[in-house]
Symmetry: C2
Subunit: 112 residues, 2 copies
DNA sequence: AGAATACTTAAGTCGTTATTTAACTAAAGG
DNA sequence: CCTTTAGTTAAATAACGACTTAAGTATTCT
């Protein structure tokens, strides 16, 4: 029951579900309890809890239970991971376009 | 058979699958053909083609067929959408933390 | 103490989706 | 032409994942 690995895999899989993204969008307005999260949604509280487990395991959400109410808030960890992955792909991709541009700009260049 | 809507939904759902992310990672090294994409993977060519359809529908990949070979390359559209969504959530979230910081910095502030 | 609240967990259902097989089309090459 | 190469498509299967129901635990309220 130790902290599960937070991976790009988990993050994107978590964000892949529309209901979970809805939870995240709600949470970006500020921390709230599980039942408050569930209330506007047309799904069971149990379903929300299960989504929260996924979101927490992916480092997108952090929760803390005090008394009988669990308060949920966004966690930057997962977001940073996702951003980083996209930025990395983009970087490689842009770099390639740059090199291509260089070559086109210098028609005399060796193409070996 | 017109161009399907590119939505955050499609983008994240597409990125949610590890095989598809592997394809994207390969493509960030540069444009290649479908069979070259499939070769290092332990799945059928047919499966790769289907993943490519998902990736293309989500605006992450662009393909062009010349002769009998289809060349695939990354497409910025989907990536920008994903980045934007994350940035938006982050923005709201950070703004909240800022306001909280302001309040804490001014213990005399009205909390109404 | 008893009732209501706020979750939690397990088990089952049902729809979606990743992947395969197989049969097909179209372009190159000999 | 005949064959190989490169990809496409459809149908079937099999695994996964979202959601529900139902029963349980721990707090708080009265």
């Amino acid at each position: 029951m130790t902290a599960p690995q937070i991976t790009i895999d988990r993050v994107f899989q978590a964000l892949g579900d529309p209901t979970r993204r809805a939870l995240v969008e709600k949470l970006s307005q500020g921390p709230i309890s599980v039942s408050q999260l569930a209330q506007p949604l047309s799904i069971t509280l149990a379903a929300v809890v299960q989504h929260l487990q996924v979101l927490e395991a992916s480092g997108l959400v952090q929760t803390e239970k005090v008394g009988r109410v669990r308060t949920c808030r966004l966690d930057a960890t997962g977001f940073s991971l996702a951003e980083q992955w996209i930025a990395d792909r983009r970087a490689l991709w842009d770099r390639r376009l740059d090199r291509l541009g260089d070559l086109l700009a210098e028609p005399d260049a060796e193409l070996r």
